[in-house]
């Protein structure tokens, strides 16, 4: 990715939420490591897709990038400006250039504001459009862009359908003329037919306005369709990052392989015969992540000692970047998958003894 114009660069970003206990005085007894050391770059005008299962920290990463959740450590560089150390006033001014689209369009719109008020709020805040007429013009243009009728202006969010509400959310983000849009699960709350419309709308807007997207989703098909680069997150860290098509055809990290093998193939013969990797156990607690490679407790290719001792860093393998010690050996078939014993990882002093807990009886099965 060298040589391309990078809009956003995230370096070693960490977001740790304290776990507090105590009757009279709060005591911090640990941290939930929602995001634990992420590096990524988003080239200008491209779409970066972020996938991972629930609770892996992808939404927190998106919010930390926009400084909506203050990062614990790390750097976020937006077009040459370091956001984490920016004073509050300057950060507010910068917000014009980076906007967010939310998962649930209903809860992200103030139910007591009509559409006009929703769209004017940002313009007022940044002093865009000197007078009323000019602001109206900007708003009308924005409505056209997202395909909402003019009469929508005086209506309230509860009077719209889900897809239209999401268009309002997109219009709110667009009206400021941003360069970066972080879309947190932009379509997962919508009907499938509406999903396609909204995704195509996002696509068109990118083409016409040259927007840069960070799309967070758990729907692999959506991410593949919309993204240029895809990053896979597991337990607060990036495990693999590759150009979209490459990631889907040639996943390198064992976790990515497992994810991809969960995508059904629209051909019954292939679907019946293809290899499927079922991961054993649950996502370990981000308050007490496994040592070494975060994935080694569930990895069918995990090798003794190194995987548990040394946390792999993202390194370039071909066009991809992958955080696995044995990516090449797995790809060449030198290493074979093996059975996985379920390990139950809990925060210290929580729950019963691991051997008392009933775990899935069939840990790793390979069809």
């Amino acid at each position: 990715m060298t040589g391309t114009d990078v809009l956003v660069e995230v370096r070693d970003l960490k977001v740790h939420f304290p776990i507090k206990r105590g009757v009279l005085f709060d005591r911090t007894i640990g941290h939930v490591k929602a995001v634990d050391g992420v590096d990524l770059r988003i080239p200008r005008g491209q779409t970066y897709g972020l996938v991972g299962e629930s609770g892996c920290g992808k939404s927190t990463l998106g919010r930390a990038l926009l400084q909506l959740t203050p990062p614990t450590t790390g750097e976020v560089n937006f077009d040459g400006v370091e956001l984490t150390t920016l004073p509050a006033g300057k950060l507010r001014a910068m917000r014009r250039r980076m906007q967010m689209i939310f998962q649930d369009p209903m809860s992200s719109l103030d139910p007591r504001q009509n559409v006009e008020s929703i769209l004017t709020e940002g313009l007022h805040t940044h002093g865009i459009g000197g007078n009323r007429d000019e602001r109206r013009k900007i708003i009308a243009e924005t409505l056209d862009k997202v395909g909402l009728p003019r009469w929508a202006l005086s209506r309230y969010p509860h009077e719209f359908s889900g897809g239209q509400r999401q268009r309002i959310g997109i219009a709110r983000a667009l009206v400021l003329g941003p360069e970066l849009i972080v879309a947190d699960e932009p379509v997962s709350a919508l009907d499938v037919s509406i999903q396609a419309q909204v995704i195509n709308l996002l696509d068109e807007l990118q083409d016409s306005l040259g927007l840069t997207y960070l799309v967070i989703a758990h729907d692999l098909a959506v991410v593949r369709h919309i993204s240029d680069i895809v990053g896979v997150m597991y337990l607060g860290g990036l495990v693999e990052e590759a150009p979209s098509d490459r990631l889907y055809t040639e996943p390198l990290h064992p976790y990515t392989r497992a994810l991809m093998s969960a995508v059904p193939v629209p051909d019954p013969d292939v679907e019946d015969r293809r290899e499927r990797i079922l991961l054993a156990g649950d996502l370990p607690s981000p308050a007490n992540p496994p040592s070494g490679c975060r994935f080694h407790t569930r990895c069918p290719w995990a090798q003794p000692t190194r995987c548990a001792d040394e946390r792999p860093v993202l390194r370039e393998v071909g066009e991809s970047r992958v955080a696995c010690h044995f990516a090449e050996q797995i790809a060449s078939g030198e290493l074979r998958p093996h059975q996985v014993q379920v390990q139950i990882v809990r925060p210290e002093g929580e729950g019963e003894e691991p051997d008392v807990v009933s775990a899935p009886s069939e840990p790793g099965s390979f069809v």
Binding site: L68, M100, D110, P111, G122, T125, W151, Y156
Partner: protein, 322 residues
């Protein structure tokens, strides 16, 4: 004027609703809530009771047949308490005389004004102080970060102190401190409802400040103080308004209780339902109606406020919207 049957009215309502949808303007949440309120029979009963009550309280005193303090019964020798003679209702005196020979009907009507005054003023006192403290604490806790949590904790410990005392005991202590008077009753009853309003608004604001639209406003770059005032506060008001209506009912009952305990207006010449109830106590054996009239009036008024309050709670609850 033609009489429209219930069914026909429903049809017209539905047509009106359809027409409203075609209108240019959208329907705000408040308008929507008001529409649903109008269709709720409980709300209508409550509203009718309250309209009558407010009308009587406001204009009634100008039309009463006798002065509320005129002891005409004693003067005319009709009321002889010593002999246990307190005449009941008659053509001249609709609700009869009280033990001092005063016209009970006139006293009830004039008493309505006092009761309304006490209810409204004490609720306003409770609402304004409670909403101020609760609003500050809620905004500080929801949006203010570490420093805000300190402000919130300090304010809330003060509220907890008020809340820890039984409400009537608190009211009695305040009334005892300030000396019995009408103002004292209002302040005492108002102070009792302060912690309720404060807790309610604070809780509501904290919930709202964690919502996505607040995050959206933050990402637009709106200042936190503006977010608190334009987004969080308006969306947190619904339960407070409902509570205010319900508090009007309890305020009237509490004011009556304080008057009954002798902590109300010492000038018993000014009639008030609670005082009338207290005054009737020695004569329960002779004429229990003297206690029943103010008691029933208090109950019906409180019921009116409660019905309307509960109906408003339903109308304002976004979960119940179609």
């Amino acid at each position: 004027m033609t009489i429209i049957s219930g069914k026909k009215r429903e049809k017209i309502d539905r047509l009106a609703e359809l027409a409203a949808r075609e209108e240019e303007r959208g329907v705000s949440l408040w308008q929507d809530a008001f529409r649903r309120l109008r269709r709720n029979p409980a709300a209508i009963v409550g509203a009718v009771i309250l309209t009558i009550f407010v009308l009587v309280a406001v204009v009634g005193p100008f039309f009463v047949p006798y002065g509320p303090t005129d002891t005409m019964g004693i003067r005319e020798g009709v009321v002889r308490v010593g002999q246990g003679l307190i005449p009941g209702h008659s053509a001249e005196h609709w609700l009869g005389y009280d033990h001092q020979g005063r016209d009970v009907f006139s006293r009830m009507v004039v008493g309505a004004r006092q009761t309304l005054l006490v209810g409204v003023v004490s609720t306003l006192i409770g609402l304004s102080i409670g909403a101020l403290i609760g609003g500050l604490a809620g905004a500080a806790a929801g949006l203010g970060g570490r420093w805000g949590r300190w402000v919130d904790a300090t304010l809330m410990r003060f509220i907890d102190m008020l809340l820890a005392m039984p409400s009537l005991l608190l009211a009695v202590s305040i009334a005892a401190l300030l000396g019995p008077s009408l103002t004292t009753v209002m302040i005492a009853v108002g102070m009792v409802s302060v912690p309720v309003f404060a807790r309610l608004l604070r809780g509501s604001m904290i919930v709202q400040s964690h919502s996505d639209y607040v995050l959206a406003a933050t990402s637009l770059g709106v200042r936190k103080s503006k977010i608190a005032l334009t987004h969080v506060l308006p969306n947190s008001l619904a339960p407070v308004i409902v509570q205010a209506t319900l508090t009007l009912a309890t305020a009237i009952i509490e004011a009556a209780a304080l008057s009954y305990l002798g902590l109300g207006n010492p000038d018993s010449a000014v009639p008030e339902w609670g005082v009338m109830l207290a005054d009737a106590q020695p004569w329960l054996g002779i004429r229990p109606a003297l206690a029943i009239y103010p008691a029933v009036a208090i109950i019906i008024t409180a019921l009116g406020f409660t019905l309307l309050g509960e109906a408003m709670r339903e109308a304002l609850d976004p979960k119940l919207r179609k």
